[in-house]
Symmetry: C2
Subunit: 367 residues, 2 copies
């Protein structure tokens, strides 16, 4: 077997400055939002001059993080940052040219630079020279493990339970649902972990693989191996999903996760009110969000091509519904429509959904 | 858009020596068999000491190619080879250690070395030094284009027809069926091309992309772009499929082809008599070949998640059936079972199946 290494976050007590210049919005700045919501390392500021003087709290209530206009302003904070994080996850994963000077300056100021872009910053001669000169580090979270193995059909450990989050679109909250459910499982006294499969999840959890960067022939196989790592960490293994089975651009990654993880059960993430896929390339064409009951049945059919699995719950992202009571009504409607336990584990407590999921998984004939 | 380049075979009138040492068999030596059957460049010998003195004709009637025991023997032929081709496509795509000295010697003798392995021979310091010293070239067909683009939902050209071969397993004959159908279409007077998506098809046709080597995030997008190249070459674009939708290791690649190519129609390739998937890792577990009518319906359902498509014919690989009349009976039985035109376009004339496919595609509501 070829040598293989999981990425890991080297410094546990690092203070982060998150760069989103001109692109801070709950949807576009997925990495920034994820780190602010779930990260273990404190975010001391968001660098975005278009919002300077304001606070993240306006967008994400309960998260008191100032926006700053410049790197200098961040470095002058009472608790200055140790690292600069690229806070966006653009389609195609390339660095905006305008950000180069900020990265160069951060490296010169000896801040580590953490990136989840496809374009590896550590391979950029200018950045690597700047890092070498100051002693700062560049961490490219999407760099894949050096592993060239196809799937081998590994059975799960006898006492292990594997759950994968799937969804009706990308960028709906599969990572958040997985994080909330793993936390709820731990609160309930279980050994549970979230298996990060994307750059933001990796930054939060400190391990994992950005599976969309893998060579396609090794996608199923590396996911299989990643789940095996999860099983060494906990009994309940909640795998972060990616994309959606019907997304024109990312469906292959989604299927690699389903057939590579061979989950005992899946949790479907869905965002009521969203009508069209996140696919800006074809405003003239329609890429509608799937009908939930049909789409759930299709996931079970497609998963069973390799190993049986069942969608045991729906995790709703009710962020488009302002009122809590309206959100509750939508949750009840979706539960009735699908015949499955349903809740919004980010907006409300995840404990209830977790306890339904736990019972449903233990009752599966193949568990 | 990032720069991107299709691989191309540089020398049109090259004579090939195909290396299969100890592994020549119709199944394992897919690349060797494909080049002998369909290649435009002559194969002057197969280097396999375990079969020295014998002839490929024993295994593939009608193909008079001698086996030789050594590189020296090949170089002493009346028409010596100009290039050495790695003739196997092993799982994981790594070079057998025992073959290193043969490759070194071939490069020293100024033979080009052509490889479809995942392990790039051009990146091996010893091989690249040997090539530089003699002036020989190393071509790694699996090296991906320098392109980082996700799918954009491109519509097909108005007069273009895109057909994808899919299958009930890997290594069943999706490439052969695509080559035969493209040739039959040309014989019928159409402008038609086969779009190579694997290393053997690329060696045969002189262009293409080995899609299983692509970064997963760019798989659908690069397939979409590759089909666009096909549309500049011909009106009927027959895309070579890879893997199978239910293969534990390769399903992601298959779905990337379906959603990236968005074919108007699909041709299902199936091998009667084959009961289990090509998946040697789990001899204890069962990975049965799918039921054909169900599997066809599932392909149409999954393709339609992005764009409508129909399986318009079944291309049978009847190689497990010795007698031609028995093969004909199986073809009739499969046609009755599926309600679709059916034939073995490799064993028998492909013209009949092509004409049924052509009529069925032109009748599709979305064409």
């Amino acid at each position: 077997m070829a040598a293989a290494r999981l990425q890991s976050v080297p410094t546990p007590d690092r203070r982060l400055l998150v760069l989103t210049e001109g692109q801070f919005a709950v949807h576009d700045a997925k990495t920034a939002i994820g780190l602010i919501r779930y990260g273990r390392e404190p975010v001391v500021a968001v660098l975005d001059s278009t919002k300077a003087g304001r606070n993240v709290d306006e967008f994400l209530p309960g998260h008191d993080v100032p926006f700053v206009a410049s790197l200098e302003e961040a470095l002058a904070l009472p608790e200055p940052p140790d690292a600069l994080v690229i806070g966006i996850a653009p389609t195609g994963g390339r660095l905006p040219d305008a950000w180069r000077s900020t990265i160069r300056d951060a490296l010169a100021a000896r801040l580590d630079v953490l990136s989840g872009l496809h374009q590896f910053l550590g391979d950029d001669p200018e950045f690597s020279a700047a890092a070498a000169a100051s002693g700062a580090r560049i961490v490219d979270y999407r760099r894949p493990p050096e592993r060239m193995e196809t799937a081998v059909g590994r059975p799960h450990g006898a006492n292990k339970r594997v759950i994968l989050t799937v969804a009706t679109d990308c960028a709906l909250g599969k990572m958040s649902a997985a994080l909330e459910l793993a936390a709820a499982a731990r609160s309930a006294g279980h050994s549970a972990c979230m298996v990060p499969t994307g750059q933001t999840g990796m930054m939060i959890e400190g391990w994992g693989v950005a599976v969309d960067r893998l060579v396609s022939d090794f996608l199923n196989g590396t996911v299989e191996w990643l789940v095996e790592q999860g099983e060494t960490r906990a009994d309940w293994v909640i795998v972060e999903g990616q994309g959606s089975l019907d997304h024109p651009a990312y469906s292959a990654v989604t299927l690699g996760l389903i057939h590579g993880a061979t989950p005992h059960a899946m949790v479907m993430v869905h965002k009521p009110g969203l009508l069209e896929h996140d696919f800006e390339h074809r405003p003239d064409a329609s890429y509608p969000i799937a009908d939930l009951p049909d789409f759930i049945a299709l996931h079970e059919r497609v998963a069973a091509l390799v190993r049986p699995s069942k969608v045991v719950a729906v995790a709703l992202n009710t962020s488009l519904i302002a009122d809590d009571r309206d959100a509750r009504r939508q949750i009840e409607a979706t539960a009735a429509e699908t015949g499955l336990p349903c809740d919004d584990p980010v907006r409300f407590d995840a404990e209830f959904l977790w306890s339904d999921i736990e019972a449903a998984v233990e009752a599966l004939p193949w568990v």
